[in-house]
Protein backbone atom coordinates (compact mmCIF):
# COMPACT_ATOMS: atom_id res chain seq x y z
CA UNK A 1 0.00 0.00 0.00
CA UNK A 2 1.19 3.52 -0.79
CA UNK A 3 2.48 5.59 2.08
CA UNK A 4 1.20 8.81 0.50
CA UNK A 5 -2.31 7.47 0.10
CA UNK A 6 -2.36 6.40 3.72
CA UNK A 7 -1.18 9.72 4.94
CA UNK A 8 -3.90 11.53 3.00
CA UNK A 9 -6.52 9.17 4.41
CA UNK A 10 -5.29 9.73 7.92
CA UNK A 11 -5.35 13.50 7.54
CA UNK A 12 -8.79 13.46 5.99
CA UNK A 13 -10.19 11.25 8.75
CA UNK A 14 -8.66 13.46 11.34
CA UNK A 15 -9.93 16.72 9.88
CA UNK A 16 -13.40 15.28 9.33
CA UNK A 17 -13.37 14.14 12.93
CA UNK A 18 -12.52 17.64 14.04
CA UNK A 19 -15.26 19.24 11.94
CA UNK A 20 -17.81 16.74 13.26
CA UNK A 21 -16.69 17.79 16.70
CA UNK A 22 -17.19 21.45 15.97
CA UNK A 23 -20.79 20.87 14.90
CA UNK A 24 -22.02 18.72 17.76
CA UNK A 25 -21.83 19.17 21.50
CA UNK A 26 -20.27 16.84 24.05
CA UNK A 27 -20.77 13.10 23.80
CA UNK A 28 -22.80 13.44 20.61
CA UNK A 29 -19.54 14.24 18.87
CA UNK A 30 -18.22 10.78 19.62
CA UNK A 31 -21.00 8.98 17.78
CA UNK A 32 -20.78 11.41 14.87
CA UNK A 33 -17.07 10.82 14.51
CA UNK A 34 -17.54 7.06 14.68
CA UNK A 35 -20.23 7.19 11.99
CA UNK A 36 -18.15 9.50 9.81
CA UNK A 37 -15.23 7.11 10.02
CA UNK A 38 -17.39 4.08 9.30
CA UNK A 39 -18.89 5.75 6.20
CA UNK A 40 -15.49 6.80 4.91
CA UNK A 41 -14.00 3.36 4.78
CA UNK A 42 -16.17 1.31 2.42
CA UNK A 43 -14.46 -1.97 1.61
CA UNK A 44 -11.43 -1.02 3.63
CA UNK A 45 -10.59 -3.81 6.02
CA UNK A 46 -9.66 -2.30 9.32
CA UNK A 47 -8.70 -4.50 12.24
CA UNK A 48 -10.77 -2.17 14.43
CA UNK A 49 -12.99 0.62 13.20
CA UNK A 50 -14.25 3.66 15.11
CA UNK A 51 -13.89 2.38 18.67
CA UNK A 52 -13.47 4.40 21.86
CA UNK A 53 -9.89 4.17 23.09
CA UNK A 54 -10.15 3.45 26.81
CA UNK A 55 -6.46 2.54 26.87
CA UNK A 56 -3.97 2.50 24.01
CA UNK A 57 -1.55 0.29 25.93
CA UNK A 58 -2.51 -2.25 27.05
CA UNK A 59 -5.27 -2.08 24.47
CA UNK A 60 -8.80 -1.48 25.77
CA UNK A 61 -11.35 -0.48 23.13
CA UNK A 62 -15.07 0.12 23.70
CA UNK A 63 -17.75 -0.12 21.03
CA UNK A 64 -19.80 3.08 20.67
CA UNK A 65 -23.49 2.15 21.05
CA UNK A 66 -24.10 3.52 17.53
CA UNK A 67 -22.08 0.57 16.20
CA UNK A 68 -23.94 -2.11 18.20
CA UNK A 69 -26.88 -2.53 15.83
CA UNK A 70 -26.17 -6.05 14.61
CA UNK A 71 -27.24 -9.41 15.99
CA UNK A 72 -23.69 -10.67 15.43
CA UNK A 73 -21.20 -7.90 16.21
CA UNK A 74 -18.67 -7.54 13.37
CA UNK A 75 -15.08 -8.18 14.46
CA UNK A 76 -14.08 -4.65 13.36
CA UNK A 77 -16.54 -3.26 15.94
CA UNK A 78 -16.04 -5.83 18.68
CA UNK A 79 -14.70 -4.41 21.95
CA UNK A 80 -11.23 -5.34 23.22
CA UNK A 81 -10.06 -5.85 26.79
CA UNK A 82 -6.42 -6.76 27.45
CA UNK A 83 -4.37 -6.86 30.64
CA UNK A 84 -0.88 -7.01 29.08
CA UNK A 85 0.58 -6.34 25.63
CA UNK A 86 -0.90 -8.84 23.18
CA UNK A 87 1.48 -11.59 22.02
CA UNK A 88 1.74 -12.38 18.28
CA UNK A 89 1.52 -16.18 18.38
CA UNK A 90 2.25 -18.29 15.32
CA UNK A 91 -0.55 -20.82 14.79
CA UNK A 92 1.90 -23.25 13.17
CA UNK A 93 4.13 -23.53 16.24
CA UNK A 94 1.50 -22.83 18.92
CA UNK A 95 1.02 -25.59 21.49
CA UNK A 96 -1.51 -26.09 24.26
CA UNK A 97 -0.08 -27.86 27.28
CA UNK A 98 -2.54 -29.96 29.35
CA UNK A 99 -1.06 -30.69 32.76
CA UNK A 100 -1.77 -31.06 36.47
CA UNK A 101 -4.11 -33.73 37.82
CA UNK A 102 -4.38 -35.70 34.57
CA UNK A 103 -3.19 -39.20 33.72
CA UNK A 104 -1.74 -38.29 30.32
CA UNK A 105 -0.29 -34.78 30.22
CA UNK A 106 0.41 -33.70 26.65
CA UNK A 107 0.71 -30.79 24.25
CA UNK A 108 -1.83 -30.16 21.49
CA UNK A 109 -1.12 -28.48 18.17
CA UNK A 110 -3.84 -26.44 16.45
CA UNK A 111 -4.12 -29.10 13.72
CA UNK A 112 -4.73 -31.78 16.37
CA UNK A 113 -7.33 -29.60 18.10
CA UNK A 114 -9.15 -29.13 14.80
CA UNK A 115 -9.48 -32.91 14.40
CA UNK A 116 -11.78 -33.00 17.44
CA UNK A 117 -15.52 -32.46 16.75
CA UNK A 118 -16.13 -28.79 15.92
CA UNK A 119 -18.83 -27.09 17.95
CA UNK A 120 -20.35 -23.64 17.52
CA UNK A 121 -21.96 -21.33 20.08
CA UNK A 122 -23.52 -17.90 19.63
CA UNK A 123 -22.72 -16.09 22.86
CA UNK A 124 -22.50 -12.63 24.36
CA UNK A 125 -19.04 -11.66 25.60
CA UNK A 126 -19.07 -8.89 28.18
CA UNK A 127 -16.38 -7.39 30.38
CA UNK A 128 -17.56 -7.59 33.98
CA UNK A 129 -16.52 -3.91 34.29
CA UNK A 130 -18.96 -2.80 31.56
CA UNK A 131 -20.80 0.21 33.09
CA UNK A 132 -18.19 0.85 35.78
CA UNK A 133 -18.25 4.58 34.93
CA UNK A 134 -21.82 4.85 36.30
CA UNK A 135 -21.11 3.74 39.87
CA UNK A 136 -21.18 6.40 42.62
CA UNK A 137 -19.03 6.83 44.55
CA UNK A 138 -16.60 6.26 41.72
CA UNK A 139 -14.31 3.25 41.73
CA UNK A 140 -10.87 2.76 40.18
CA UNK A 141 -10.51 0.83 36.92
CA UNK A 142 -11.11 1.32 33.21
CA UNK A 143 -14.22 3.56 33.09
CA UNK A 144 -16.23 1.48 30.61
CA UNK A 145 -19.67 2.92 29.83
CA UNK A 146 -22.13 0.82 27.78
CA UNK A 147 -20.10 -0.81 25.01
CA UNK A 148 -17.76 -3.38 26.58
CA UNK A 149 -20.07 -6.04 25.17
CA UNK A 150 -20.59 -7.87 21.88
CA UNK A 151 -22.01 -11.07 20.44
CA UNK A 152 -20.13 -13.48 18.18
CA UNK A 153 -20.38 -16.94 16.66
CA UNK A 154 -17.58 -18.86 18.35
CA UNK A 155 -16.30 -22.06 16.77
CA UNK A 156 -13.86 -24.57 18.15
CA UNK A 157 -13.28 -27.78 20.05
CA UNK A 158 -14.97 -28.61 23.33
CA UNK A 159 -12.73 -27.96 26.32
CA UNK A 160 -14.27 -31.10 27.84
CA UNK A 161 -13.03 -33.27 24.94
CA UNK A 162 -9.45 -32.14 25.56
CA UNK A 163 -9.75 -32.71 29.31
CA UNK A 164 -11.34 -36.15 28.87
CA UNK A 165 -8.58 -37.15 26.44
CA UNK A 166 -6.06 -36.30 29.16
CA UNK A 167 -7.78 -38.60 31.66
CA UNK A 168 -8.94 -36.66 34.71
CA UNK A 169 -7.79 -37.74 38.15
CA UNK A 170 -10.57 -37.68 40.73
CA UNK A 171 -8.91 -35.00 42.93
CA UNK A 172 -9.10 -32.38 40.18
CA UNK A 173 -11.84 -29.79 40.73
CA UNK A 174 -10.64 -26.65 38.91
CA UNK A 175 -9.03 -25.90 35.55
CA UNK A 176 -6.46 -23.10 35.41
CA UNK A 177 -6.57 -21.16 32.13
CA UNK A 178 -3.22 -19.49 31.33
CA UNK A 179 -2.60 -17.30 28.32
CA UNK A 180 0.71 -16.24 26.77
CA UNK A 181 0.25 -12.48 27.36
CA UNK A 182 2.87 -11.21 29.78
CA UNK A 183 3.32 -8.01 31.81
CA UNK A 184 6.13 -5.53 31.11
CA UNK A 185 7.74 -6.12 34.50
CA UNK A 186 8.27 -9.58 36.01
CA UNK A 187 7.00 -8.18 39.32
CA UNK A 188 3.56 -7.50 37.81
CA UNK A 189 1.15 -10.45 38.15
CA UNK A 190 0.37 -12.33 34.97
CA UNK A 191 -3.26 -12.58 33.93
CA UNK A 192 -4.79 -15.99 34.47
CA UNK A 193 -8.05 -17.55 35.68
CA UNK A 194 -9.59 -20.82 36.63
CA UNK A 195 -13.06 -22.25 36.20
CA UNK A 196 -14.64 -25.13 38.11
CA UNK A 197 -14.30 -28.51 36.40
CA UNK A 198 -18.08 -28.74 36.05
CA UNK A 199 -18.21 -25.65 33.84
CA UNK A 200 -15.05 -26.72 31.98
CA UNK A 201 -16.74 -30.03 31.07
CA UNK A 202 -19.97 -28.36 29.92
CA UNK A 203 -20.53 -29.21 26.23
CA UNK A 204 -20.83 -25.50 25.32
CA UNK A 205 -17.51 -24.45 26.89
CA UNK A 206 -15.07 -24.16 24.01
CA UNK A 207 -11.47 -23.80 23.00
CA UNK A 208 -12.38 -21.40 20.19
CA UNK A 209 -10.24 -21.01 17.09
CA UNK A 210 -12.91 -19.20 15.07
CA UNK A 211 -14.85 -15.99 15.58
CA UNK A 212 -17.72 -15.18 13.19
CA UNK A 213 -16.39 -17.84 10.81
CA UNK A 214 -12.88 -16.36 10.63
CA UNK A 215 -9.70 -17.60 12.26
CA UNK A 216 -9.63 -16.07 15.74
CA UNK A 217 -8.06 -12.59 15.30
CA UNK A 218 -4.94 -11.58 17.18
CA UNK A 219 -6.74 -9.11 19.44
CA UNK A 220 -9.25 -11.78 20.42
CA UNK A 221 -6.66 -14.38 21.41
CA UNK A 222 -5.18 -15.91 18.24
CA UNK A 223 -4.92 -18.79 17.77
CA UNK A 224 -7.10 -20.13 20.64
CA UNK A 225 -9.15 -18.62 23.46
CA UNK A 226 -11.55 -20.08 25.98
CA UNK A 227 -15.28 -19.43 25.48
CA UNK A 228 -17.29 -19.76 28.69
CA UNK A 229 -20.88 -18.99 27.57
CA UNK A 230 -23.06 -17.20 30.10
CA UNK A 231 -20.09 -16.31 32.28
CA UNK A 232 -18.28 -12.96 32.59
CA UNK A 233 -15.57 -12.17 30.05
CA UNK A 234 -12.86 -12.45 32.71
CA UNK A 235 -12.89 -16.23 32.24
CA UNK A 236 -12.62 -16.18 28.43
CA UNK A 237 -8.80 -16.35 28.55
CA UNK A 238 -7.06 -15.36 25.28
CA UNK A 239 -3.80 -16.61 23.73
CA UNK A 240 -4.36 -19.80 25.71
CA UNK A 241 -1.23 -21.98 26.09
CA UNK A 242 -1.75 -23.94 29.31
CA UNK A 243 -4.60 -25.87 30.91
CA UNK A 244 -3.81 -27.12 34.38
CA UNK A 245 -6.20 -29.30 36.37
CA UNK A 246 -5.85 -28.85 40.11
CA UNK A 247 -7.66 -29.27 43.41
CA UNK A 248 -7.98 -25.55 44.20
CA UNK A 249 -8.90 -22.44 42.19
CA UNK A 250 -6.12 -20.35 40.52
CA UNK A 251 -3.71 -18.84 43.06
CA UNK A 252 -2.93 -15.66 41.09
CA UNK A 253 -3.91 -12.02 41.63
CA UNK A 254 -6.57 -11.98 38.91
CA UNK A 255 -8.55 -14.69 40.68
CA UNK A 256 -7.73 -14.17 44.37
CA UNK A 257 -7.80 -10.35 44.49
CA UNK A 258 -9.23 -8.90 41.26
CA UNK A 259 -12.58 -9.76 39.66
CA UNK A 260 -14.22 -10.37 43.01
CA UNK A 261 -17.65 -9.27 44.15
CA UNK A 262 -19.12 -8.88 47.67
CA UNK A 263 -20.86 -12.05 48.83
CA UNK A 264 -23.48 -9.91 50.59
CA UNK A 265 -24.83 -6.48 49.58
CA UNK A 266 -22.74 -3.54 50.83
CA UNK A 267 -23.42 0.18 51.21
CA UNK A 268 -22.00 2.45 48.49
CA UNK A 269 -18.45 3.45 49.44
CA UNK A 270 -18.06 0.73 52.08
CA UNK A 271 -14.64 -0.83 52.57
CA UNK A 272 -15.10 -4.56 51.99
CA UNK A 273 -12.65 -7.07 53.49
CA UNK A 274 -11.09 -9.68 51.16
CA UNK A 275 -12.84 -12.46 53.09
CA UNK A 276 -16.23 -10.92 52.31
CA UNK A 277 -15.57 -11.13 48.55
CA UNK A 278 -15.95 -14.07 46.18
CA UNK A 279 -15.14 -14.79 42.54
CA UNK A 280 -17.64 -13.83 39.84
CA UNK A 281 -19.02 -16.38 37.44
CA UNK A 282 -22.36 -15.81 35.69
CA UNK A 283 -23.35 -12.56 34.04
CA UNK A 284 -26.40 -10.70 35.38
CA UNK A 285 -29.58 -9.78 33.50
CA UNK A 286 -29.02 -6.66 31.41
CA UNK A 287 -30.32 -4.62 28.46
CA UNK A 288 -28.96 -2.05 26.04
CA UNK A 289 -30.98 0.57 24.14
CA UNK A 290 -29.24 1.03 20.78
CA UNK A 291 -31.85 3.35 19.24
CA UNK A 292 -32.55 6.15 19.65
CA UNK A 293 -29.05 7.27 20.58
CA UNK A 294 -28.48 9.34 23.70
CA UNK A 295 -29.18 13.01 23.02
CA UNK A 296 -31.16 12.32 19.82
CA UNK A 297 -34.09 14.50 18.76
CA UNK A 298 -36.93 12.07 18.12
CA UNK A 299 -39.93 12.60 15.80
CA UNK A 300 -43.47 13.03 17.15
CA UNK A 301 -45.00 10.61 14.65
CA UNK A 302 -43.39 7.44 16.06
CA UNK A 303 -40.25 6.73 18.03
CA UNK A 304 -38.55 3.46 17.04
CA UNK A 305 -36.96 2.02 20.21
CA UNK A 306 -34.50 -0.83 19.62
CA UNK A 307 -31.93 -2.78 21.56
CA UNK A 308 -30.96 -6.12 23.01
CA UNK A 309 -31.07 -7.95 26.33
CA UNK A 310 -29.03 -10.83 27.70
CA UNK A 311 -28.51 -12.72 30.92
CA UNK A 312 -26.18 -15.19 32.62
CA UNK A 313 -25.71 -18.91 33.09
CA UNK A 314 -28.11 -20.88 30.94
CA UNK A 315 -31.06 -18.60 31.62
CA UNK A 316 -33.15 -17.04 28.85
CA UNK A 317 -34.51 -13.52 28.49
CA UNK A 318 -38.32 -13.74 28.52
CA UNK A 319 -39.45 -10.11 28.72
CA UNK A 320 -38.23 -6.61 27.93
CA UNK A 321 -40.26 -3.61 29.07
CA UNK A 322 -39.83 -0.04 27.95
CA UNK A 323 -40.57 3.11 29.91
CA UNK A 324 -40.70 6.56 28.33
CA UNK A 325 -41.08 8.31 31.71
CA UNK A 326 -37.94 7.18 33.58
CA UNK A 327 -39.51 4.04 35.01
CA UNK A 328 -42.94 5.24 36.19
CA UNK A 329 -44.93 3.26 33.63
CA UNK A 330 -43.92 0.31 31.45
CA UNK A 331 -45.02 -1.41 28.26
CA UNK A 332 -43.77 -4.62 26.69
CA UNK A 333 -41.40 -4.54 23.77
CA UNK A 334 -41.55 -7.17 21.05
CA UNK A 335 -38.79 -9.80 21.28
CA UNK A 336 -37.28 -10.46 17.87
CA UNK A 337 -35.06 -13.51 18.39
CA UNK A 338 -35.89 -16.89 19.88
CA UNK A 339 -35.21 -17.36 23.59
CA UNK A 340 -31.92 -19.22 23.96
CA UNK A 341 -29.17 -19.30 26.56
CA UNK A 342 -25.94 -17.31 26.08
CA UNK A 343 -27.23 -15.13 23.23
CA UNK A 344 -28.90 -11.77 23.40
CA UNK A 345 -32.47 -11.16 22.22
CA UNK A 346 -33.13 -8.05 20.23
CA UNK A 347 -36.21 -6.03 21.14
CA UNK A 348 -38.31 -3.46 19.35
CA UNK A 349 -41.07 -1.03 20.24
CA UNK A 350 -42.45 1.73 18.04
CA UNK A 351 -43.76 4.22 20.54
CA UNK A 352 -46.39 6.71 19.37
CA UNK A 353 -46.37 9.75 21.64
CA UNK A 354 -50.00 10.66 22.54
CA UNK A 355 -51.27 13.81 20.83
CA UNK A 356 -51.38 15.74 24.11
CA UNK A 357 -47.78 14.83 25.07
CA UNK A 358 -46.03 18.09 26.01
CA UNK A 359 -42.68 17.02 24.51
CA UNK A 360 -39.31 17.96 25.94
CA UNK A 361 -36.63 15.72 27.43
CA UNK A 362 -37.64 12.09 27.93
CA UNK A 363 -35.87 9.38 29.82
CA UNK A 364 -36.26 6.06 28.03
CA UNK A 365 -35.58 2.97 30.09
CA UNK A 366 -35.36 -0.72 29.15
CA UNK A 367 -35.83 -3.43 31.75
CA UNK A 368 -35.28 -7.12 31.02
CA UNK A 369 -36.47 -10.21 32.93
CA UNK A 370 -35.22 -13.78 32.54
CA UNK A 371 -36.81 -17.19 33.06
CA UNK A 372 -35.32 -17.40 36.56
CA UNK A 373 -37.31 -14.30 37.50
CA UNK A 374 -34.21 -12.11 37.64
CA UNK A 375 -35.04 -8.53 36.65
CA UNK A 376 -32.91 -5.43 36.17
CA UNK A 377 -33.16 -2.83 38.95
CA UNK A 378 -34.52 0.63 38.09
CA UNK A 379 -32.28 2.17 40.74
CA UNK A 380 -28.45 2.06 40.36
CA UNK A 381 -26.96 -1.45 40.25
CA UNK A 382 -25.58 -2.79 43.57
CA UNK A 383 -22.42 -0.84 44.37
CA UNK A 384 -19.24 -2.86 44.77
CA UNK A 385 -15.62 -1.78 45.32
CA UNK A 386 -14.38 -2.53 41.80
CA UNK A 387 -17.49 -1.57 39.85
CA UNK A 388 -18.53 -4.90 38.34
CA UNK A 389 -21.82 -6.12 36.88
CA UNK A 390 -23.58 -2.76 36.33
CA UNK A 391 -27.09 -3.71 35.20
CA UNK A 392 -29.44 -0.88 36.10
CA UNK A 393 -32.35 -0.74 33.60
CA UNK A 394 -30.65 0.97 30.64
CA UNK A 395 -31.37 4.69 30.31
CA UNK A 396 -31.22 7.02 27.33
CA UNK A 397 -32.24 10.68 27.38
CA UNK A 398 -33.79 12.03 24.19
CA UNK A 399 -35.64 15.19 23.14
CA UNK A 400 -39.19 15.06 21.79
CA UNK A 401 -40.42 18.13 19.92
CA UNK A 402 -43.36 19.92 21.51
Amino acid sequence: METGERQTLNRRHFLQGLSALALTPGFLALNSVAEAIAKQSPGKRLVKKGLLVRSSRPLDLETPVALLNDDITPIAHFFVRTHHDEPALDAATWRLSVEGLVKNPRAWSLAELKKLPRHEVVAVLQCSGNGRAFFRPRVPGVPWERGAVGQARWGGARLGDVLKAAGLKTEGLHVVLQGEDRPVLPTTPRFGRSIPLKKALHPDTLLAYEMNGEPLPMLHGHPVRVVVPGWVGDDWVKWLTTLKVQKDPFEGFFYQTAYRYPKRPVQPGDAVTPEAMGPMDEMVIKSLITAPLAGARVPRAAVPIRGMAWTGGEARVVQVEISVDDGNTWQNAQLLDEARPYAWRRFALDWKPPGNHPGGFLRLRARATDDRGHQQPIEPAPWNPSGYQWNSADRVEVFLHA
Binding site: R45, V47, P143
Partner: protein, 138 residues
Protein backbone atom coordinates in the same frame (compact mmCIF):
# COMPACT_ATOMS: atom_id res chain seq x y z
CA UNK B 1 11.86 -6.65 13.51
CA UNK B 2 8.62 -5.26 14.91
CA UNK B 3 6.52 -7.69 16.88
CA UNK B 4 3.28 -6.21 15.57
CA UNK B 5 2.21 -6.14 11.97
CA UNK B 6 -0.44 -3.46 11.80
CA UNK B 7 -0.81 0.27 12.08
CA UNK B 8 -2.62 2.48 14.50
CA UNK B 9 -4.46 5.70 13.84
CA UNK B 10 -6.11 7.81 16.48
CA UNK B 11 -8.68 10.62 16.35
CA UNK B 12 -8.68 12.94 19.27
CA UNK B 13 -12.27 13.86 20.06
CA UNK B 14 -11.42 16.08 22.99
CA UNK B 15 -11.89 19.75 22.21
CA UNK B 16 -8.46 20.80 23.37
CA UNK B 17 -6.41 22.77 20.88
CA UNK B 18 -3.19 21.50 22.46
CA UNK B 19 -4.18 17.89 21.95
CA UNK B 20 -5.33 18.51 18.43
CA UNK B 21 -2.04 20.19 17.62
CA UNK B 22 -0.03 17.41 19.13
CA UNK B 23 -1.97 14.73 17.27
CA UNK B 24 -1.81 16.58 13.97
CA UNK B 25 1.93 16.90 14.45
CA UNK B 26 2.07 13.20 15.21
CA UNK B 27 0.07 12.24 12.15
CA UNK B 28 2.22 14.39 9.90
CA UNK B 29 5.55 13.30 11.33
CA UNK B 30 5.28 9.88 12.90
CA UNK B 31 2.79 8.05 10.70
CA UNK B 32 4.83 8.01 7.46
CA UNK B 33 7.71 6.50 9.44
CA UNK B 34 5.44 3.80 10.83
CA UNK B 35 3.91 3.12 7.44
CA UNK B 36 7.31 2.60 5.82
CA UNK B 37 8.17 -0.23 8.21
CA UNK B 38 8.13 -3.68 6.61
CA UNK B 39 5.08 -5.93 7.04
CA UNK B 40 5.81 -9.10 8.93
CA UNK B 41 3.50 -11.94 9.84
CA UNK B 42 0.11 -13.25 8.84
CA UNK B 43 -1.39 -13.38 12.32
CA UNK B 44 -5.10 -12.72 11.67
CA UNK B 45 -6.22 -9.34 12.85
CA UNK B 46 -2.83 -8.27 14.11
CA UNK B 47 -1.75 -4.65 14.21
CA UNK B 48 1.11 -2.40 15.08
CA UNK B 49 1.52 -1.41 18.71
CA UNK B 50 -0.03 2.05 19.12
CA UNK B 51 2.27 5.00 19.75
CA UNK B 52 2.28 6.76 23.09
CA UNK B 53 -0.63 9.12 23.60
CA UNK B 54 0.44 12.76 23.47
CA UNK B 55 -1.10 13.98 26.68
CA UNK B 56 -0.20 17.42 27.99
CA UNK B 57 0.54 16.63 31.62
CA UNK B 58 -0.15 19.50 34.02
CA UNK B 59 2.99 21.11 35.45
CA UNK B 60 3.87 20.02 38.95
CA UNK B 61 6.17 17.92 41.07
CA UNK B 62 4.50 14.68 39.99
CA UNK B 63 4.80 15.19 36.25
CA UNK B 64 8.31 13.80 35.83
CA UNK B 65 7.38 10.84 38.04
CA UNK B 66 4.38 9.98 35.84
CA UNK B 67 6.45 10.28 32.70
CA UNK B 68 9.41 8.22 33.89
CA UNK B 69 7.94 5.71 36.38
CA UNK B 70 4.45 4.93 35.05
CA UNK B 71 4.24 5.23 31.30
CA UNK B 72 6.71 2.54 30.35
CA UNK B 73 4.17 -0.10 31.39
CA UNK B 74 0.96 1.60 30.26
CA UNK B 75 -0.11 4.72 28.41
CA UNK B 76 -1.69 7.91 29.73
CA UNK B 77 -5.41 7.06 29.39
CA UNK B 78 -5.39 4.61 32.29
CA UNK B 79 -4.48 7.54 34.53
CA UNK B 80 -6.15 10.60 33.00
CA UNK B 81 -9.55 8.92 32.48
CA UNK B 82 -9.94 8.21 36.20
CA UNK B 83 -11.63 10.51 38.72
CA UNK B 84 -10.50 9.30 42.13
CA UNK B 85 -10.24 10.66 45.64
CA UNK B 86 -6.93 11.26 47.36
CA UNK B 87 -7.31 8.02 49.33
CA UNK B 88 -8.09 6.05 46.16
CA UNK B 89 -5.08 7.49 44.29
CA UNK B 90 -2.78 6.62 47.21
CA UNK B 91 -4.08 3.06 47.10
CA UNK B 92 -3.52 2.85 43.33
CA UNK B 93 0.06 4.14 43.68
CA UNK B 94 0.76 1.57 46.39
CA UNK B 95 -0.62 -1.19 44.16
CA UNK B 96 1.62 -0.07 41.30
CA UNK B 97 4.66 0.00 43.58
CA UNK B 98 3.83 -3.55 44.62
CA UNK B 99 3.69 -4.45 40.94
CA UNK B 100 7.14 -2.96 40.30
CA UNK B 101 6.79 0.81 39.77
CA UNK B 102 10.15 2.26 40.90
CA UNK B 103 9.04 4.90 43.42
CA UNK B 104 10.50 5.51 46.87
CA UNK B 105 8.33 6.52 49.80
CA UNK B 106 8.50 10.28 49.31
CA UNK B 107 8.03 9.94 45.53
CA UNK B 108 4.89 7.89 46.15
CA UNK B 109 3.49 10.73 48.26
CA UNK B 110 4.35 13.36 45.64
CA UNK B 111 2.82 11.28 42.84
CA UNK B 112 -0.40 10.48 44.75
CA UNK B 113 -0.87 14.17 45.62
CA UNK B 114 -0.28 15.21 42.00
CA UNK B 115 -2.82 12.66 40.70
CA UNK B 116 -5.39 13.65 43.35
CA UNK B 117 -4.96 17.33 42.49
CA UNK B 118 -5.45 16.89 38.75
CA UNK B 119 -7.65 13.80 38.40
CA UNK B 120 -10.08 14.08 41.30
CA UNK B 121 -13.83 13.38 41.35
CA UNK B 122 -14.81 16.99 40.62
CA UNK B 123 -12.87 17.30 37.37
CA UNK B 124 -15.07 17.06 34.25
CA UNK B 125 -15.26 13.58 32.69
CA UNK B 126 -12.56 12.42 30.30
CA UNK B 127 -13.65 12.22 26.66
CA UNK B 128 -11.99 9.18 25.07
CA UNK B 129 -10.53 9.36 21.59
CA UNK B 130 -11.95 7.39 18.68
CA UNK B 131 -9.44 4.98 17.18
CA UNK B 132 -8.93 2.70 14.21
CA UNK B 133 -6.46 -0.13 13.98
CA UNK B 134 -5.27 -0.59 10.46
CA UNK B 135 -3.56 -3.69 9.08
CA UNK B 136 -0.18 -3.09 7.50
CA UNK B 137 -0.87 -5.61 4.74
CA UNK B 138 -3.82 -4.80 2.42
Amino acid sequence: MPKYAHRWTAFFATPRPLWAGAVLLFLLCAVPNLASAAPETAVPGSFRSPPSVQFQWPAGAGRALVETRCLFCHHAELIVAQRLTSAQWSKEVKKMVKWGAPLNHSEQKVLAAYLAQHFGPTRKPYAPTIGNLEPLTP
